[in-house]
Amino acid sequence: MAFVPGQPVTAVVQRIEIQKLQQGEHLILGFSIGGGIDQDPGQNPFSEDKTDKGIYVTRITPGGPADVAGLMMGDKIMQVNGWDMTMVTHDQARKTLTKKKEDVVRLLVTRKSLEDAVKHSKGCYPRK
């Protein structure tokens, strides 16, 4: 999933739609994110490429909205409602996810198992 900034990215992505859950005064998605261009990518336990400053799903509340929607720990978030998440700061990502007026977020995520699945299903898939 490594990519060069400025270069097009090829990734197998899954679309995940999460309906936010009202919890007290807050709407929650039920997962937590790590990473961002202002964070140390070396600390990210999920990335294959330790220079990847993307946003990753670090934790998921069991039974929470994200869990229900099929989000998995370690997923890399590529887009949120159409907004690019591969070159954003941690806080920008958090804000994009927690916009007050949106009660649904649509994510494009990628994960290793997706890539593998695609690779296997197409034996001669050009990539790798």
Binding site: E25, H26, L29, I33, G42, G82, T98, K101, R106
Partner: protein, 918 residues
């Protein structure tokens, strides 16, 4: 507010002013950026809105000031000798480490025992006595041993056991070398550590601190190491830091001296005091602050000269085991904070200064200790020491105050103010000639100036002194230039940087502050001289220049309303129309929300009028002056245009660029004679291409300031034509296209500023609207109008589109390109909130991207409703637009407007910096 009118109105166009609920987004003038003193960077921007109210926002980022007492010391030993250090950790280890701790650990049991006897409650006197008797000896002895060992057996220098081994030989010599100077604690310390790490506390400390307090613009970096890094640069520049010879040459003598001293100087407790500070900080660094850093910085030794740089945390990883064991040793006890504060009042001066130095060290990056010092009433004591005649004492006190004043805890700053610390600092500034002390004073003032309520206090007590003592002398400006001497250049000293940073901060404190600064004798002259000198020397990227430009920018804000006698210069054309153009325009716009015929006519007339008067200005010579202008008049003389343009051309510093563009923006706002001159001068000095070029800047805020400046400049009709012809492509290229932001990823404010500038340019000029179309802007505008998640962007884009559509002569071309009227209609629908109550609801309407579709685009026109509300006139001219209603849309709007709740999980208290629940 005739002057403002132009700018304010710009966001809206002729057709839609009434609808626009937030005309003020178009910032006409921005007052500046402030940067915090050593520290924080703050931006203050003042926006004048329609109703004349002022809105101010400030964001502050604080940078920590570190005290480096111990650190500098450590490095020294390494550097001079140039010895390779066998153990990475040992050399860097502070003297404390190498001496006290090592010994404590290895040989401490045998030799140091006496110390264990000291109890917590003992007074410092006692402790000195105790320690002097035995502890110091053993310490020094060992410590000498260390040195010798290191001198003789270079390779082993770092080893722990060496000191002990050598100890016996040293011992006998001690008495001989006693020197009188040693009787003072401070000097002694220097000596003591001199061999070990000489530049010692006094020097190293202050130097380091200064650096910290530097105004460097804070750049958020991920993990907090930045502080060290930042301080590096400056430190390296510091002359006194690098004195390698000093240590090596004198080593022998110093050692001797130390030995002697140990015996005779009961009061000196240098080593002890110094040793302690390390513990808390190290512990903090190691344990809490940068846990992850250890691995990354395993090679701290590479740059021993960095002193403060080589912060403890780096070596923490390696050293921690020994530290831990040392810290557990019950025989050593740190003086607690009340004790240290009590020492500030000790009758013996060296004790005071040592205590202050220790406090400074303790406070470094430790907000808790700063707060404790405050609560233990330590601040008034420190402030009292500022008036102490001994320079060592007031210097150290000042150093401590600087660290205490740094940070986000404004209570500390207030505490300094409440015990009259500000006048005391200013008094000391007048009194002292010691550069280092001056740096500390100005650094402290800079820190204090970051807190809003203190700004006026600083102005009241310190403005003229800072100007006379620092700004004028360092700027090179001379009040009465000597004919023979050639003009002097500015000196970019730390003192100048600190002082200009302080003034930069206080200059943002509103109209009264601006007035005081403008009228402060010599200030504007000196700042301008300094900037001219910077331009002359092509040295425009440094912090001092940045500070100066920011002050100039702030002082230029609202000059057309605030300077004495401004009314004499009001634009004649503005005066002709009673009531001034402002209100008139607004009224007109209100009446014809949608660009009623009448309104349009007026606009055209006005345009024509502007055009004519403009022609006059072009031919009109600038007013002849009987005498050279001085003081605040210099702010808005057309000559400054060249200065700012030079900065805009040459500087690489984004903050400077932004401030210079902001200054032009401020000066070109308003309707008075001088702003007319400024607008024309920018054109004549070929400034427009320079500004347009900067639209390509990578810096968001530079683009924004330039865009707004262009907008104000286009009040001048000729400028408008030129900008329309030459700047359109660069403006448009900054707009996001559809959902994909351009590479620059500009902030909402910037996008809105650009849209408003475009709006201003196409308003009243179908030629410019044509350029806009040719620049492929319509596609982007429509995309923003439809899909932007920002209501403000959507609105601004929609205004531009409406204006473009209002030019009937362009519609053919537009239709040919596949556009139709619906593309030029606003997308915003009525939302429950919005209809209830104008502004907030309207503003908040952000549509989720995925819910927008073609249908959604044409909706009930919320603006119609707004119009009615605003004007109380239901029969607004709606003929040109047919509001489309669409129930489905409506539904989704309502839905999207549902509860405005924070989506942040309640239990999300930012668990870690890198991980947030959503």
């Amino acid at each position: 507010m005739p002057a403002e009118v132009k700018q304010e109105q710009s966001p809206s166009n002729a057709t839609s002013l009434a609808m626009m609920q937030e005309p003020q987004e178009v910032v006409e003038e921005t007052v500046t950026i402030e940067e915090d003193p050593g520290t924080p960077t703050s931006h203050v921007s003042v926006v004048t809105s329609d109703d004349g109210t002022t809105r101010r926002t400030e964001t502050k980022v604080t940078k920590m000031v570190k005290t480096v007492t111990t650190r500098t010391v450590r490095q020294v030993p390494l550097g001079p000798d140039g010895l390779p250090l066998p153990e990475g950790s040992s050399p860097l280890g502070s003297y404390t480490d190498s001496i006290d701790r090592r010994y404590m650990k290895n040989g401490g049991e045998r030799f140091i025992t006496p110390q264990a006897t000291s109890t917590l409650t003992r007074s410092y006197n006692n402790s000195y006595n105790d320690s002097y008797g035995e502890t110091p000896e053993s310490q020094y002895v060992r410590h000498y041993g260390l040195h010798d060992g290191y001198a003789d057996l270079t390779d082993n220098y770092g080893s722990l056991s060496r000191g002990v081994n050598f100890r016996p030989p040293r011992y006998p010599y001690m008495p001989n070398s006693y020197r009188p100077e040693n009787s003072y604690t401070l000097p002694i310390r220097k000596d003591d550590y001199g061999h070990v790490a000489q530049p010692q506390v006094p020097m190293g400390t202050s130097t380091v601190d200064l650096n910290r307090s530097q105004p460097e613009r804070f750049q958020p970096e991920p993990y907090g190491l930045e502080d060290d890094r930042r301080s590096l640069g400056p430190e390296e520049e510091e002359p006194y830091e690098l004195e390698p010879d000093y240590s090596t040459a004198n080593r022998r003598t110093l050692q001797g001296a130390n030995r002697g001293r140990t015996h005779r100087e009961p009061l000196r407790d240098g080593p002890r005091v110094r040793g302690y500070p390390d513990d808390p900080i190290e512990a903090e660094l190691i344990d809490e602050r940068h846990p992850y850093i250890h691995g990354m910085y395993s090679a701290p030794l590479a740059q021993p000269e960095r002193g403060s740089m080589a912060s403890l945390d780096r070596m923490g990883g390696r050293r921690s085991p020994s530290i831990d064991s040392i810290r557990k040793d019950p025989r050593w006890r740190d003086p607690d904070l009340p004790e240290v504060i009590a020492m500030l009042g000790h009758p013996i001066d060296p004790v005071k200064s040592n205590a202050a130095a220790y406090l400074q060290h303790l406070c470094y990056e430790n907000d808790k200790i700063k707060k404790d010092v405050r609560q233990l009433k330590g601040i008034p004591v420190l402030v009292g020491l500022l008036d102490h005649p001994k320079s060592e004492v007031h210097r150290k006190a000042c150093g401590a105050l600087r660290n205490i004043s740094y940070g986000k805890d404004n209570d500390n700053k207030v505490a300094i103010k409440n015990c009259d610390g500000i006048p005391a600092l200013v008094r000391l500034l007048r009194k002292t000639n010691d550069m280092e002390v001056r740096e500390l004073i100005t650094g402290t003032l800079w820190n204090l100036s970051s807190y809003e309520p203190l700004k006026m206090v600083i102005i009241n007590h310190g403005l003229q002194t800072m100007t006379n003592e620092v700004i004028i002398p360092h700027s090179g400006w001379e009040h009465e230039p000597n004919e023979d001497s050639k003009p002097r250049d500015a000196e970019w000293t730390t003192v100048f940087k600190n002082t200009s940073g302080c003034l930069r901060n206080v200059s943002s404190d509103g109209a009264e502050a601006r007035r005081r600064l403008r009228e402060c004798e010599g200030l504007v002259d000196a700042l301008l001289h300094a900037l001219q000198s910077a331009v002359g020397k092509k040295d425009m990227d440094n912090k001092s220049v940045e500070n100066c430009v920011c002050i100039m920018r702030n002082l230029s804000y609202h000059v057309h309303k605030e300077v004495p006698g401004a009314e004499k210069f009001q634009d004649p054309s503005a005066l002709q129309a009673p009531g001034s153009t402002g209100p008139q325009r607004k009224k007109k716009d209100d009446a014809g929300c949608f660009g009623g015929k009448k309104a349009k006519e007026e606009w055209f007339n006005q345009g024509r009028k502007n055009g004519e008067s403009d022609k006059n200005y072009d031919t009109l010579d600038l007013p002849k002056r009987t005498e050279p202008s001085k003081g605040f008049e210099l702010l808005y003389q057309p000559e400054v245009v060249r200065l700012y343009l030079s900065l805009l051309t040459e500087s690489q510093n984004y903050n400077t660029l932004e401030a210079a563009a902001g200054a032009l923006q401020n000066l070109s706002a308003g309707q008075w004679t001088w702003s007319n001159y400024i607008r024309a001068t920018v054109r004549k000095e070929k400034g427009l291409p320079i500004l347009v070029e900067l639209l390509r800047s990578d810096s968001d805020k530079v683009v924004r300031a330039v865009a707004i400046a262009l907008r104000n400049l286009s009040i001048d009709r000729r400028n408008k034509d030129l900008i329309g012809s030459y700047a359109m492509r660069d403006l448009v290229s900054n707009l996001p296209s559809g959902q994909q932001r351009p590479a620059k990823n500009l902030e909402e404010d910037t996008v809105v500023a650009i849209l408003n500038t475009i709006h201003e340019i196409v308003t009243d000029s179908s030629e410019n609207a044509r350029s806009l179309i040719q620049a492929q802007a319509i596609e982007k505008l429509v995309a923003i109008n439809r899909t932007s998640q920002s209501a403000r962007e959507t609105k601004a884009a929609s205004h531009v589109l409406q204006t473009v559509w209002s030019y009937k002569e362009l519609r053919n071309a537009l239709t040919k390109d596949g556009w139709n009227k619906s593309h030029f209609q606003p997308t915003v629908t009525a939302t429950p909130k919005a209809t209830k109550n104008g502004k907030p609801g309207y503003d908040d309407t952000t549509l989720p991207l995925m819910e927008k579709n073609q249908d959604g685009y044409s909706t009930i026109d919320q603006r119609d409703k707004d119009c009615k509300y605003k004007t109380g006139d239901g029969s607004v001219d709606l003929t040109e637009r047919e509001p489309l209603k669409n129930d489905t849309n409506r539904k989704h709007y309502i839905r999207s407007n549902r509860p405005a709740v924070s989506l942040v999980d309640a239990c999300d208290v930012k668990p870690q910096p890198v991980d947030s629940w959503v």
